[in-house]
Symmetry: C2
């Protein structure tokens, strides 16, 4: 499929790989989608799950993901406030990409 | 598989998704791998194929890809000099990731 797409489509703004990367190529973007996965996650859980991300970067990334309709955010009017994140239908469709990243890392990079 | 990995592995330095993203998450990295694909490509061809990338960024990215053993570079002692790039065995293994990016973009982002 890669070859077919490559021959049919130049790598300009109509290139599907470029379109996906515009949305997903941030250092943390796919990692956050991977961590949310099929779960409903509170902000604090996500902060602990994505090791090494700063508070500022996580908030920025989550806002971008919500804006791009990959993640939905629900805030409950409680004290203390509870905010939950889950993948949208579109966000769920990124999981096969994450699966392939996981496979590649597992087979080639991580020492078991 | 995503779920299985998620439950088994925390997202620290042993996380396969993190390991893959450390190598591949640059804005242009997967795009360059996608363009080289199964081909042998000269520098000039690559420059034309990856629309919008600057000369400096392309050279920097190619050096990083060579250093990370995803791409091999062969320079021929000709006048003018000829430099060719192709994917290594490891680089070829990133193509399933690119395929999924292409699928996601094709189905959800690009207007046909």
């Amino acid at each position: 499929m890669t070859n077919k797409l490559k021959k049919n489509l130049p790598c300009d703004d109509n290139c599907p790989v470029k379109a996906s990367l515009d949305l997903l190529s941030g250092k943390w973007t796919l990692m956050i989608l991977f961590q949310i996965n099929n779960n409903v996650m509170r902000y604090g859980e996500l902060k602990r799950a994505v090791t090494g991300i700063s508070e500022k970067m996580l908030i920025q990334e989550l806002n971008k993901l919500v804006e791009n309709k990959l993640v939905s955010k629900k805030a409950y009017p409680e004290i203390p406030p509870r905010v939950e994140y889950r993948l949208t239908e579109l966000g769920m469709k990124t999981l096969p990409i994450v699966d392939k990243l996981a496979e590649f890392g597992q087979e080639n990079l991580v020492h078991n």
